[in-house]
């Protein structure tokens, strides 16, 4: 099947503008991308106790993500086996059973069918209709990494760890600062009239927008660094199925650099014991600190360190979010605050404050980002956008050779390919993976 856009152009970094608002493209994404990729739905810390559940979506499909009495985390399609009513209509809670509101079939929190009203009269009892072996439809595949729960609608999906590839190295900075790992709060949820790919691309590698889009947060002194231009000293990396951005830290030891971004000593000591040599070297030896990142297709992360009080001190925060596609021109953002579960309580509180000030529904960074993305999406829906190929070639010469070489292992201890300065390498990586999926037909 011919794709409804110029695929060769995408490979060259020239992006047909209408892919950011096109019903036909969106249908293909549903059929060929979200039907196969690993999609983040939550974290085990959101459902710590047996019976705890949250309800999350993969595109239009609703799943109950619950911890059973056996402690196991499962994801069950939220549709009654009988006539299809939504079994659970709350978005979070604790329950031993879910009772369907339509005719009253009930399911244990591990999905097993427990009871049917008038089982004997209506079905001939256990003989006529055995409950044994009947469960809410499980998600075709579920896997976790550092407590992050992912679902794939493809039962033949590769193991999550293989899918992450070397991106796991970087994911650890956000989700494994101690062996205990993170705890999540939230999410804040809101809908934006923007295509889901724009946010994913932005977080993956758009260091170039920071000095301009986010001038105002620098002007009000939210950051210690007086100039947003500092971004160009950072590096972007792509590894496995994800990539991200970093800031260059001032000279110093590992400890000095971690404390520069506001981590207290006990947390630094724990990180030293938790991270690999390579993970420590990216920070301590090479001086790069992770900032925004995206895992294909629609999970993004951010780490930054603003001032949260009238003082020179800064404090780091972590946010995890998904760009959940609603339609070609609409996305639901689910944005969580994440913090190391073992961090001191006062650190957790101030880190939460840092998050609220910077990202999420009220975040001062996020506000200006979304304004851009809404406007872009709106314009991409018109007919002129079908004649325009957007330039996503930053960092490439006309003959496709890179403008700056990849950092050698002596200067960047992390896996994958990293480059200092502005570039759209990661956005191209992301859209190339997107195209890989769209070009692969779903076998009947």
């Amino acid at each position: 099947m011919q794709l409804p856009f110029d695929a060769a152009a995408v490979r060259r970094g020239m992006i047909p503008a209408h892919i950011y608002n096109d019903a036909e493209v969106f249908a293909l994404e549903r059929e060929r991308l979200f039907s196969r990729a690993w999609v983040f739905v939550g974290h085990v810390s959101e459902i710590p106790d047996p019976g705890d559940y949250v309800v999350r979506q993969v595109l239009a499909d609703s799943f109950i993500v619950a911890r059973g009495e056996d402690g196991e985390v499962r994801a069950m399609f939220n549709m009654c086996l009988h006539r299809g009513m939504q079994v659970c209509r709350a978005e979070m809670g604790n329950a031993s059973h879910f009772r369907c509101p339509y005719h009253g079939w009930s399911y244990r929190n591990d999905g097993r069918l427990a009871g049917l009203p008038f089982h004997r009269d209506a079905y001939g009892g256990e003989e006529g209709f055995p409950r044994q072996g009947r469960t809410l439809l499980p998600a075709p595949a579920l896997d976790t990494y550092n407590g992050l729960i992912f679902i794939s609608l493809d039962e033949d999906a590769p193991p999550l760890r293989a899918y992450l590839g070397d991106f796991a190295f970087y994911l650890d900075y956000y989700t494994r600062q101690s062996p205990t790992g993170i705890e999540l709060s939230g999410p804040q949820r809101w809908r934006i009239k923007a295509n889901w790919k724009i946010g994913a691309e932005n977080f993956a590698g758009d260091m170039y927008h920071t000095p301009h889009t986010h001038t105002s947060v620098v002007e009000i002194g939210l950051f210690r660094e007086p100039k947003a231009e500092k971004r160009k000293d950072g590096a972007t990396y792509w590894a496995g199925n994800g990539g991200g951005t970093t800031y260059k830290l001032p000279p110093g030891s590992l400890e000095e650099r971690l404390s520069h971004v506001g981590y207290p000593d006990p947390m630094i000591e724990t990180m030293k014991k938790t991270w690999s040599r390579g993970q420590l070297d990216v920070v301590g030896r090479d001086g790069f600190m992770v900032s925004a990142a995206s895992l294909f297709p629609n999970l993004s992360l951010v780490h930054n360190w603003p001032r949260v009080e009238e003082s020179d001190d800064v404090l780091p925060f972590i946010s995890i979010r998904t760009w959940q596609p609603i339609g070609p021109d609409e996305t639901e953002v689910l944005s969580w605050f994440a913090v190391d579960a073992g961090a001191p309580e006062d650190f957790k509180a101030l880190s939460y404050k840092a998050y609220l000030m910077c990202f999420g529904s009220t975040g001062m960074f996020e506000q200006d980002d979304v304004e851009n993305w809404v406007s872009l999406t709106h314009t991409a829906g018109g007919s002129m956008a079908r004649r325009l190929q957007l330039n996503s070639r930053m960092g490439l010469r006309p003959d496709d050779t890179p403008l700056v070489p990849a950092l050698p292992p002596e200067e960047f201890a992390g896996p994958g390919e990293a480059r200092v300065g502005y570039g759209e390498y990661n956005q191209r990586h992301l859209l190339n993976r997107w195209l890989d999926h769209l070009e692969r037909e779903v076998s009947a």
């Binding site: 709350a90 999420g360 506000q367």
Partner: protein
Amino acid sequence: MTRATESRLGGHASTIERTGDSLPYGDERHLTAHRWLVDEAYLLDAQDYDAWLALVTDDVHYLMPVRVTTARAAGYDVSPGMAHFDENRYSLSRRVARFQTEHAWTEDPPSRLRHHITNVRTFATPDPDHLVADSAVLLYRSRGDVREPALISAGREDLLRRQDGRWLLARRRILVDDAVLRTQNLAIFL
């Protein structure tokens, strides 16, 4: 649900609560609170945030929890440990300062805002210098020429404090009526 479990950052806030029934509409104190809320709405519509910030106390706590859909029996309907706003004077002042720069793109061109305030009732507190006011707010927010406008409906509980003869906002809790906000951001105040 108690206030302490709704906010992670409100430890500094005044804990004064309402007493008794709502005040009669003719009561001087009710008229004072009502007038204050209406005057404030005009400042917020005009995005006159300097003037607005002058109306909040140094120990202000400005809280907007995240609402969640839960079973009736769950006993809570706000997200544990997560809010949209959980602000003190410093963070409010940064937000205001940002709007005052020339680079707060999300509000340039500005939204057209109308805060509709209704259902106001006022309560006395044990201290004559404090009043509690409940109100409903419906914010109409229109951006650009033909974009769908955004509506935000919320209930608010305010603690007003008389300080040097002026009434100031010491505490606001905004109970928004949506679990999923249908507006691109909260670059506004409620």
